[in-house]
Symmetry: C2
Subunit: 258 residues, 2 copies
Amino acid sequence: MTVQLSESTEMYLKAMAELGVGDVVPVGRLAGRLGVTNVSANEMVHRLTEQGLLSHMPYKGVTLTETGRTAACSVLRRQRLWECFLYDHLHIEWAKLYELACSLEHATAPEVTEALAVFLGDPKFCPRGNPIPAADGSFAPLHGVPLRYVPMGSIVQVLAVNATETDVLKYLQERDILPGREVTVVEAAPMEGPLTLRLGWKRRCDETTRRGIEHTRRLARFGIGDGRPEQRFRAPPGRLHFLVFFRYWESAISPMKR
Amino acid sequence: MTVQLSESTEMYLKAMAELGVGDVVPVGRLAGRLGVTNVSANEMVHRLTEQGLLSHMPYKGVTLTETGRTAACSVLRRQRLWECFLYDHLHIEWAKLYELACSLEHATAPEVTEALAVFLGDPKFCPRGNPIPAADGSFAPLHGVPLRYVPMGSIVQVLAVNATETDVLKYLQERDILPGREVTVVEAAPMEGPLTLRLGWKRRCDETTRRGIEHTRRLARFGIGDGRPEQRFRAPPGRLHFLVFFRYWESAISPMKR
DNA sequence: GGGAATAATAAGGTCAACCATAAGATTTAA
DNA sequence: TTAAATCTTATGGTTGACCTTATTATTCCC
């Protein structure tokens, strides 16, 4: 039924899904994400459109077709299941999970994927807090708000980290901004300006953020984060605004639309 | 230090190692194993020779250089560790292990390999009975004799299966010729002719063959093999002679040189 | 020693996925 | 409305790993 897609194809589809399933993504954005030139991305978009995986609206952007969405979810499922395995069982550093799982995902046959899911106990979220699509392609939505839309003064909880680049993940890891962590938005300069957060320990816990909590505990054992119940963190301009999703925690601000 | 080798390069190196570390392998043999034409293999051998991974003696064959041997062992290690994982933890069908592990091996970073080894408890043999090279490249030799050299009437124990093609492995699996199994060589026609074996249950057990035994038990639960303490098996001509290694069991025949 | 089998080389071709440069087309924001 | 920014298309190039067909070289065995 489903023909084997090339690694490159899978990367394009995954990028589309990560940038927002259903969204219209400008080709340039896709190119940037994948680290290729706009011209190359354009070529590839043509190929994928011919294969019926993408639908291209010139000068607007591309969306996943139904076939494309299914394929993309399959890639995302493999990616995130491997992240779980690497984290929970191989104890790989959090910041490296994405990169390492990424290479594995393209080499994973369906029967391995499903056996892995069973082995892992059918997890619903990856260590970055993102939902793992089900085998049938269904996808639990993330009830969060992008950090850039969180008003100053809000006390929020990190729900999921959307970033994928290892250096950005390292950056977050070093500052202990991880799923499950509670932060207060102290100051947010407009227009991609710097963002200041105050970090505090999370007090409640649920399934989604279990992994974040576990990670925090693991770090605490190494003396990271522990004994510093509150600290301030100032992100450089334009790096984190699109990276972290938050769930409202104690404030009651209505989520704005993306 | 070690530059990332391409998947193709790794396959050539692995094939060299599987055909015998240290051996001089004719290019045609390599081509056959890898399913490419002699011309293609020749081209590739040139490239690998230039990279210092192989040493090519025209009209004789190729050997691994020291660098090549190290790289090949690394590939073999990854391959066989994944086989262990897929078999022990994901319960993947024995015959499919090689094929599925093969795709994963090329996508596995060193730190994942080592973390996997720790997770698995540093196994010394893969489910096919082949030794897993250590992280430092050292390689436990197999104290066995290729089936084609086992004289008629010998009672031997399957030590390791050297075959890699899924269909051949399925063939063996269906007939329960697996590591740990004891067989009697009833008849062996000369010159790649058919080979008749009598299968009996293995009575003793050691570390090397533990996995085979476990598999046999697992099959027995499904009614395969159990209740048939002895059966005859006739292999088609020229298929198994090079595939299975045996350890002498109750007979005392001096191993012939390969 | 000669012929069969095997190995090597040469020449030319394909394919996917990239690249650069340059020239148009369209959208958006001043 | 016009210029800047973004997007698309065209052209031509590269790389790795394959392929076929054909020719030449070497080894091995009778």
